[in-house]
C-alpha cells in the first residue's frame, strides 16, 4: 500500500491554531505522526525580560487567550513571592473565582470543538450557546468577555460586591440547569459520540506517567494529579477533590472535562459565598529579587513559571512551561494506528493550546 503524507495544518478548520501534523497514512490508517511547531512563537519569555515586571502581567495574560486569567495568576503568585507581598484573603478568593470561570469557559469551548470535530454541529452550537452565559458573567465581573485582566501583582483590580455575587449565583444556576437539560445527557449517552470516542487514543496509566502527561489527559488515564490540591490562592479553604476517570481513552478525557465543568460551577459558588470582607489590593514596593517558582492548574494541566530577578525593574529570566508542551508527546502514542477520521478527535482530546506551548 502506498504511503501518503498529509500535511494536517498549519491552516486547518478543525485545528484553529497553526500546528502542523505530518500524518503518514497507509490507506486511511495513520502509521506515523510528526508534529511540527513554531508557527506561533512570539518570544514572550524574552519580551518579559525587556518589560517592567508589572507590565508583564498583561503580556503573560496574552500568552493564551483561553486561560488568560490563570497565566496572570501564576505570574502574580511568583512575582508576589519574590517581592514578599502578602495578598489579602478576599483577593485570593476572587482569584479562585476567576480561575474557575476561565476553566469553565475553556472546557466548554473544548467540548464544543470536540463535537464539531465529530461533525456534530448542533451539539457544538448548544455548548457554545451555554458558554455565552459564562462569558456574560466574565463581562459583568471583569469587564471583558475572555481576557479578564483582573489579576495584578498584589491582588485583583476589581471587586465583586454582594449584589453582583447574587446575580452571578443566579446566572450560574441557570447555566447549570442548561447543562443538565441539554448538554450532559447527549455527552453521556449519545451512541454516535461514544462510537467516535470510546477506545480511541488509548493512553494507559503507565504511559501517562512515563510521558509526563498532565491535567485532564493524565486524569483521564487514572492519574490523580491536580495542582489545585497544593492549595494555591484559596483552594485550600474552598476545598478540592480531583476528578479522575480510569478508561484512558478520548471519551474518558471528555468525561473528565465534562465533570470538571460541574465542579467549577460548585467551586465558583463556594468561593463567592466564603469570600471574606476586606481589601482586594495591596501596594507592591520593592523589586523582584532571587528565584521563585509558581505552579497552577490550567484547564489543560500543570503550568509552571520560573522567575529569576536581580533587584531591578526587569526580570532576569522568566521560564514558562505549559501543559500542552507536556501533553504533545502523548499524541505520538495515541495517534499511530488510528484512522484518519479519528485524528481530529484524538488530537483535540489533549486539548492542545499551541499559543501556550510556543509562547
Amino acid at each position: 500500500m502506498a504511503r501518503t503524507v498529509i500535511p494536517f495544518g498549519p491552516q486547518h478548520p478543525v485545528l484553529p491554531e497553526p500546528i502542523q501534523l505530518k500524518l503518514e497514512l497507509e490507506d486511511e490508517t495513520v502509521v506515523g505522526v510528526m508534529p511540527i511547531i513554531g508557527y506561533i512563537h512570539r518570544g514572550i519569555e524574552k519580551a518579559a525580560e525587556l518589560n517592567d515586571f508589572r507590565q508583564n502581567v498583561f503580556i503573560c495574560e496574552r500568552i493564551c487567550g483561553i486561560c488568560s486569567f490563570i497565566h496572570a495568576l501564576t505570574y502574580c503568585e511568583g512575582a508576589e513571592a519574590m517581592t514578599s507581598v502578602e495578598v489579602p484573603p478576599r483577593a485570593r478568593f476572587l482569584r479562585v473565582f476567576w480561575s474557575e470561570l476561565s476553566r469553565t469557559h475553556s472546557h466548554l469551548l473544548w467540548l464544543g470543538l470536540l463535537a464539531d470535530s465529530m461533525g456534530f454541529e448542533s451539539l457544538f452550537m448548544q455548548i457554545w450557546r451555554a458558554r455565552e452565559m459564562i462569558l456574560d458573567i466574565s463581562e459583568m465581573t471583569a469587564g471583558h468577555r475572555i481576557i479578564q485582566s483582573t489579576c495584578i501583582i498584589g491582588g485583583v483590580r476589581r471587586d465583586i460586591d454582594k449584589e453582583m455575587a447574587k446575580e452571578v449565583d443566579k446566572r450560574l444556576l441557570a447555566f447549570k440547569e442548561m447543562l443538565d437539560s441539554t448538554i450532559a445527557p447527549v455527552l453521556l449517552r449519545d451512541p454516535t459520540i461514544k462510537r467516535r470516542a470510546v477506545g480511541k487514543g488509548m493512553l494507559s496509566k503507565e504511559q501517562a506517567e512515563l510521558l509526563g502527561a498532565v491535567g485532564p489527559t493524565s486524569r483521564g488515564s487514572g492519574v490523580a494529579i491536580d495542582i489545585r490540591q497544593t492549595g494555591y490562592a484559596a483552594y485550600k479553604e474552598v476545598g478540592f477533590e480531583p476528578v479522575v476517570e480510569t478508561a484512558g481513552d478520548s471519551y474518558a478525557r471528555t468525561l473528565v472535562r465534562a465533570r470538571e465543568v460541574y465542579q467549577c460551577v460548585e467551586l465558583m459558588r463556594k468561593a463567592l459565598s466564603m469570600m471574606p470582607e476586606g481589601e482586594i489590593l495591596v501596594r507592591v514596593d520593592g523589586y523582584p529579587e532571587g528565584e521563585a517558582m509558581s505552579r497552577t492548574e490550567q484547564p489543560r494541566g500543570e503550568l509552571i513559571y520560573y522567575f529569576r530577578g536581580n533587584g531591578t525593574n526587569n526580570l532576569e529570566r522568566l521560564k514558562i512551561r505549559t501543559p500542552t508542551f507536556a501533553n504533545i508527546p502523548t499524541l505520538l502514542v495515541m495517534l499511530p494506528g488510528c484512522e484518519m477520521a479519528d485524528v481530529p478527535v484524538i488530537t483535540l482530546s489533549i486539548d492542545p493550546c499551541i499559543a501556550c506551548t510556543e509562547r
Partner: protein, 289 residues
C-alpha cells in the same frame, strides 16, 4: 402519454430541478439553523453562493479535473432527462453512477492529498450506497415485471404499501447522497471536517458552482425516485409529501448525530440495506406484500 408532452416535461425538469434543489438547500440551511437555535441564512442563499462563485476568478488544478467535473454535471443532467422521459429506471441509475464515478475520478486526478483522500472516500461511499440503490429497484421490477418508470405511472397501484422496506433502505441512500451526518465522510456540508470537503478541495470558483448545481440535480433526482413510491391513484400528491417528508427526516437525523467513520458506514449500509431489501424481495415472493 404523447412524445411531445414527455419531451416538454424533460425540458422543464432540466430547468426546474436545479431551482428546486437550490431552494431545498436554502430551506435545509434555514431549518438546520433553527434547530440549532440560530436564524440562519436567507432561503435564497444557495443561489447567491452559486452566482458569486460564477463571478470568481477561474482557477483549476488540472485540465483533466475540469473535464471530469463537466462530465459529472452532464451525466447527472442526462440522468434527470431520462427520468423525466420515463425511461428505464436501471438506465437512469447507471448514468447517475457513472456521473458520481467521474466526480471521484476528478478528485483523484489532482495531486493534493486532501483531494486524493476525498476521492477515495467518495469511492467508498459510492461502494456503500450503489448496491442498495440498485437492489432497491429489484423489488419494484418484481412487483411490476418491468424496470420502466412509465410502467410505475401506469400501474394504478401505489408501491409504498408493498415496498416500504426498500423505501427505508433508500432513505439511507438519500442521507449519503445529501452528505448528511452520520454519513458525511467524503465532504460534509460544512467544512469543519478533517478533509476540508476533500472531494471539492481543488475545484474553485465557477467550477465549484458547477459541482454544486450537479449536486442539486442529484438530490432532486433521488427525491423523485423516492416520490415514485406513490405516483398513482387519487392521492398522487402524496408522492411530493413523501419525498419532502423523507428529506426532513434526513435533516433531523443530521442534527442529532455525529459523523461516523467509513468502515462503520460500509458495514451499516450493507447490512441494513441489503437485509431490508432482501426481506422485501422475500416477502414479495412469498406473496405477503
Amino acid at each position: 402519454m404523447s412524445t411531445g408532452w414527455l419531451i416538454g416535461s424533460a425540458v422543464i425538469a432540466v430547468i426546474v430541478a436545479p431551482l428546486i434543489g437550490g431552494l431545498l438547500r436554502g430551506i435545509d440551511r434555514k431549518l438546520t439553523a433553527h434547530m440549532q437555535g440560530r436564524i440562519g441564512p436567507p432561503i435564497m442563499q444557495p443561489f447567491y453562493d452559486v452566482i458569486k462563485l460564477f463571478g470568481k476568478e477561474r482557477c483549476v488544478a488540472g485540465k483533466a479535473q475540469l473535464v471530469f467535473g463537466y462530465a459529472y454535471l452532464t451525466l447527472i443532467v442526462t440522468a434527470v432527462v431520462f427520468f423525466a422521459l420515463r425511461q428505464d429506471l436501471l438506465v437512469v441509475l447507471f448514468i447517475l453512477f457513472l456521473g458520481c464515478i467521474f466526480l471521484a475520478i476528478g478528485a483523484l486526478s489532482v495531486k493534493s492529498p486532501y483531494s486524493q483522500l476525498g476521492g477515495h472516500r467518495e469511492l467508498l461511499q459510492f461502494l456503500a450506497y450503489e448496491p442498495i440503490l440498485l437492489l432497491a429497484v429489484v423489488p419494484i421490477a418484481l412487483k411490476l415485471q418491468s424496470f420502466r418508470i412509465a410502467t410505475i405511472f401506469e400501474s394504478g397501484q401505489p408501491l409504498l404499501p408493498h415496498l416500504w422496506l426498500s423505501f427505508i433502505a433508500l432513505l439511507i441512500v438519500l442521507a449519503i447522497v445529501m452528505r448528511k451526518s452520520p454519513f458525511d465522510i467524503s465532504s460534509s456540508e460544512h467544512a469543519h471536517q478533517e478533509l476540508v470537503r476533500g472531494l471539492v478541495t481543488e475545484y474553485a470558483g465557477p467550477y465549484l458552482a458547477l459541482i454544486e448545481i450537479a449536486h442539486w440535480y442529484e438530490m432532486v433526482l433521488l427525491l423523485s425516485i423516492l416520490g415514485l413510491f406513490w405516483v398513482v391513484g387519487s392521492l398522487w400528491w402524496l408522492s411530493i409529501i413523501i419525498a419532502l417528508g423523507s428529506w426532513f427526516i434526513i435533516l433531523i437525523v443530521d442534527n442529532i448525530s455525529a459523523r461516523l467513520t467509513w468502515s462503520w458506514m460500509l458495514r451499516f449500509t450493507w447490512v441494513a440495506g441489503i437485509s431490508l431489501i432482501g426481506s422485501n424481495i422475500l416477502f414479495i415472493n412469498l406473496g405477503w406484500m
